[in-house]
Subunit: 292 residues, 2 copies
């Protein structure tokens, strides 16, 4: 297992972690500059941040800083209620794939979507099995485009509390079943993003990481689970402030040969988004060394 | 599958659903009277409500109304950080068992506990596998007392969002693995409480209900999952107001021979607890007929 205590060469910052500090958007170029100043070698930006900063300008900024992208957030949201939506979703995912390629991301992260309409509070139906079938079809279709371009797709199983509105793939087992169905050769074109926040509770977690193996382990996201958690979406904790045994999970990943970045992804409306962005990055560096 | 649309003979009210209306505790005897007035034949009370009303008085009230208890809430919370706690928890569970027997409950529901200290916001450790091992030992010990008294123990897997602080048994699969380990003969002494709120998201749910079979299906709890859900604990929805396909789950239960009550258990600080208790019961009856 790698020793992180002496440096932060394997730290990546998911830029949602510092996206909006003290009520004002922190522009992506400024985030990248602040990361570079601190010797942070990798980031994972969100599409809306890139759209504001400009795709080409962002790619140039990344190159100027000699940075890597541990992933690109995100494709997915595959579920639909009608054919018009289905085509719009397909086209949007193709654009996400293009962007990921332009930025040279290590993978395109997929948050697969829940029941159509549920995110807006008005689910069109209650057929989660049907939604899951749409997700498999959507991933299969996107994989046809992604594979020849060499852009791996990383299915991110989301915590079951997001099953209704954000992602109906909710366990690593379920994500790996999809991988096995669509990429039985374990080519590396399709795998999983393991976010400790989403999977830490799973009694089968360590066995599933072993099942995934090197070829399927495309990304590793860290934060912490707070007790109490006061909001379903935006109350994630900084590593070390919660109950997740992050090191145990990282050890399981590395036992399979995973040697990539630990990507910090924290949505925290009440705490970390209320602080100076640079100070948050400094804390990420410190916690990466001692709590990851 | 039973037709619920013409009457509510298979409706049970978990008394937490109307425990505190408009800021004032609704005393358990009054809840039971209000249920009886409406032809509700079963309830599932909580220990703290029974403690206030008195065990003997509650048992008399239940008998006077010729009511059944679809379950008794609750035993469990097996996890501990020291030997003194372990013994206190064991003794408290024995008292819960005594009470369930006195009240003639169909089963004692077990919410098994999370990381010790986490419910108070200060987890003593992060070893969830260790906590799970304590849970298995605790259930095994309680089962020795419960089996000769003919009181079935119903393990209630709780939603993974409660893994840290309330219950580290989080899937039906995990609960059934414990049942198989401790009661391989499927004697009926140990089984599961299936609460749709906790398990609806599980991609393996229907197969797991089949695996459970008649002997392990001891209780069925209903409410609904709202989108958005604004609180992790106290924002459950009334049946029909959310995204859970309750009827599909009930059909799976009944296909295995389950023929017990549908127990309504709703914790709703912002909505149903703000209403007149009798009106809430009337709504439960109506929704039981049309949405369960």
């Amino acid at each position: 297992m790698r020793d992180f205590s002496n440096d932060h060469r394997w730290l990546s910052i998911n830029t949602a972690t510092v996206r909006r500090q003290r009520g004002a958007d922190w522009p992506l170029p400024d985030i990248l500059d602040a990361c570079a100043e601190r010797g942070i070698r990798a980031v994972s930006p969100w599409r809306d941040q890139v759209a504001v900063a400009g795709l080409r300008a962002t790619a140039d900024c990344v190159r100027r800083h000699a940075m890597e992208l541990s992933g690109y957030c995100r494709g997915g949201m595959f579920t639909y209620a009608d054919e018009v939506s289905r085509r719009a979703i397909r086209d949007d995912n193709r654009r996400a794939l293009d962007e990921a390629c332009t930025l040279g991301a290590a993978c395109l992260v997929l948050v697969v979507g829940g029941l159509p309409g549920a995110l807006g509070g008005r689910a069109k139906h209650k057929d989660i099995a049907g939604a899951r079938a749409q997700v498999v079809d959507g991933i299969a279709e996107l994989l046809e485009d992604a594979r020849p371009r060499g852009m791996p797709l990383a299915i991110e199983p989301l915590h079951p509390m997001y099953a209704a509105d954000r992602a109906c793939i909710n366990t690593l087992e379920q994500a790996l079943d999809v991988c096995d169905a669509l990429d039985p050769a374990r080519s590396g074109a399709l795998g999983v993003a393991v976010d400790v926040y989403h999977v830490w509770w799973d009694p089968k977690l360590l066995a599933l990481i072993e099942r995934a193996g090197r070829a399927r382990l495309l990304a590793f996201h860290v934060c912490d689970w707070l007790t109490p958690t006061t909001d379903l979406l935006e109350d994630r904790g900084m590593m070390g402030d919660g109950v997740i045994d992050i090191r145990r999970i990282r050890a399981a990943m590395e036992a399979q040969g995973f040697a990539g970045y630990s990507e910090v992804e924290i949505f925290s409306a009440r705490n970390w988004w209320q602080r100076d962005g640079g100070a948050v990055l400094d804390t990420c560096i410190e916690r990466h060394r001692h709590c990851v």
